[in-house]
């Protein structure tokens, strides 16, 4: 469901900075349906990959064989990302807060962490440079606190300076795709607000999973479930071994 919602966000012809797992699945679903000309860029340096198998890592050899270009990582970050060529970046995180700030660094204090997470990887610069960012995370109070313990990837600043004041080139996280609803950033306040609900989910179900008083769009939409084509592609073609799809 999350994969198909994410896929629909992608516009044909866009250049997408792809992470492994669900974002990869979403991109390949979009390519197989409404966006055949999507260009996939991996931070590992593969551009225009059409992998013969579902890649298990962002550096999978299947992303190289038959791709359009392989370049060094200095080129990926300087000539492609910082150059402003990425339309959409995908991010996930252990924590996402009211203003779309994302934490993939530590739970607890940085110096004495309760849980040490992997860190930024390319996430900080994707959040800053991609023209827009899609965040993918499952709803739970632990994952959506009012404030993250550590800002790895910046959202919309909240009380502090705006993205524009900080001279961030990209628009940042514009949507958060969860397993129950889609949140969007409110341009006025920079807050995440409820934009659309999955079938059978009520606004109160979402509010209970979020650590701040969640505002709601005047008329929140309903997300259409994956249609038969999408389901068939996901289950039979794109992830037949259920590496990323659960249930």
């Amino acid at each position: 469901m999350m994969a198909s919602v994410a896929a629909r966000e992608l516009v044909d012809g866009e250049v997408v900075f792809v992470g492994i797992g669900l974002p990869n699945l979403a991109c390949n679903l979009a390519r197989a349906t409404h966006a055949p000309r999507l260009v996939l860029v991996y931070e590992s340096g593969a551009v225009g990959a059409t992998p013969a198998r579902l890649p298990v890592s962002i550096g999978d050899p299947a992303l190289v064989t038959g791709s359009l270009m392989v370049c060094g990582m200095a080129d990926v970050f300087q000539l492609i990302l910082q150059n402003g060529r990425i339309a959409v970046g995908f991010l996930g995180g252990a924590q996402v807060d009211r203003y779309g700030n994302i934490n993939t660094t530590v739970i607890g204090s940085y110096e004495r962490p309760a849980v040490r997470l992997p860190g930024s990887g390319g996430a900080a610069e994707i959040a800053i440079h991609a023209r827009r960012t899609l965040v993918v995370a499952k709803l739970s109070p632990r994952t959506f606190p009012a404030h993250v313990d550590f800002i790895t990837s910046p959202g919309h600043g909240g009380a502090g300076a705006s993205r524009r004041q900080l001279r961030m080139p990209g628009a940042g996280p514009v949507k958060v795709i969860t397993d129950k609803a889609v949140l969007e950033v409110d341009e006025g306040t920079g807050e995440l607000v409820l934009a659309a609900l999955y079938p059978g989910v009520e606004a109160s179900d979402v509010r209970g999973c979020v650590g701040w008083p969640l505002a709601c769009r005047p008329r929140p939409g309903r997300v259409a479930p994956p249609d038969a084509t999408e389901l068939r592609l996901l289950r039979d073609v794109l992830d037949p071994e259920r590496l990323y799809l659960k249930g």
């Binding site: 200095a74 004495r112 930024s120 610069e125």
Partner: protein
């Protein structure tokens, strides 16, 4: 050319170019990570190393577990698609093991540190880090003012390792090294370092290198030693030679979570073998499972 060969054994290369207290880089982004060199460093009992890599991966998790590291400089410390590096986490979370000092960037920051080091500039500018907490916990992320626009840009300091160990598909005996597939920051790391050890799947005649000079990523003039170590990147991979051993990465989650299981692994496959050949003898199925299929490209014309 009548040059003396730089080909040496891994044992000799590590003995000669990796010393206690050194800043050491074993690079490679998923691709071409030289596990063979990491294992030899463990066997020779190196201590107090500052280990640098974008993605510490399983090899640095093993070196941390084996007590080689004093400090880690990195940007993403996980087991990609699988889970955690538990020896790293124990050392950072302060659970029992001696604490590991860390210095943390994003990928772009690490790439920029190597780029500065390779160009022998003291810093590298990048448009990054506004709105993040990284500069708060890493005071080496600073700013510079553009002399044209007046805007502030982030900077990272140059990284100039004592030694970089670069795995590659092939090199000649002088160290002219060719790589294809993912390139990571192998070139920048090598040019940034005081010493360079190249480890290759295949030693080739200089004529093979000269037939396709655009394929050369690292020239002999910066290489100190060439080690020939087929399958030396396993469980990482070498495009055109063997696939990544994903099963090994998946199994690492449980293995590294259990301190004893990790020690047993090191005893069996690292400390308990004399060299890479012995490591491979213990796993006679690798070729059957992982050997690359043929997908050869056409050559191009260099004539004039």
């Amino acid at each position: 050319m009548s040059d003396v060969s730089k080909v040496v054994s891994m044992r000799d290369a590590v003995a000669r170019f990796v010393h206690d207290g050194d800043t050491v880089v074993i690079e490679g982004f998923t691709h071409l990570i030289c596990f063979a060199a990491g294992h030899e460093i463990i066997r020779q009992g190196r201590r107090d190393l500052t280990l640098c890599r974008l993605t510490p991966d399983l090899i640095y998790d093993q070196m941390i577990a084996a007590g080689c590291a004093r400090k880690l400089v990195f940007s993403w410390a996980g087991n990609p698609g699988v889970g955690s590096l538990h020896a790293f986490r124990r050392a950072v979370e302060g659970r029992g093991a001696p604490r590991l000092e860390i210095e943390e960037y994003s990928h772009f920051g690490m790439v920029a540190r190597f780029a500065a080091g390779a160009a022998r500039l003291p810093f590298w500018p990048l448009r990054n880090y506004m709105g993040t907490d990284l500069p708060r916990v890493n005071p080496r992320i600073r700013h510079v003012t553009c002399p044209y626009t007046g805007e502030a840009l982030a900077t990272v300091p140059a990284l100039n390792p004592d030694v970089s160990i670069i795995h590659a598909q092939r090199a000649d005996a002088q160290g002219n090294t060719q790589i294809w597939g993912l390139l990571g920051v192998q070139k920048e790391a090598a040019f940034a370092s005081a010493h360079v050890i190249v480890v290759v799947e295949e030693l080739v005649d200089e004529a093979v290198i000269r037939a396709d000079p655009n394929r050369t990523v690292i020239p002999a003039l910066i290489v100190d030693a060439v080690v020939v170590e087929p399958w030396g990147a396993h469980p990482s991979y070498a495009q055109g030679y063997y696939d990544r051993d994903n099963g090994f990465y998946v199994a690492w989650e449980a293995r590294s979570r259990d301190r004893d299981a990790l020690e047993r692994y090191l005893d069996d496959f690292v400390r308990g073998v004399s060299d890479r050949a012995a490591y491979l003898e213990k796993q006679p199925d690798l070729a059957a499972r992982l050997k690359a299929k043929e997908r050869r490209c056409a050559g191009v014309n260099y004539g004039f």
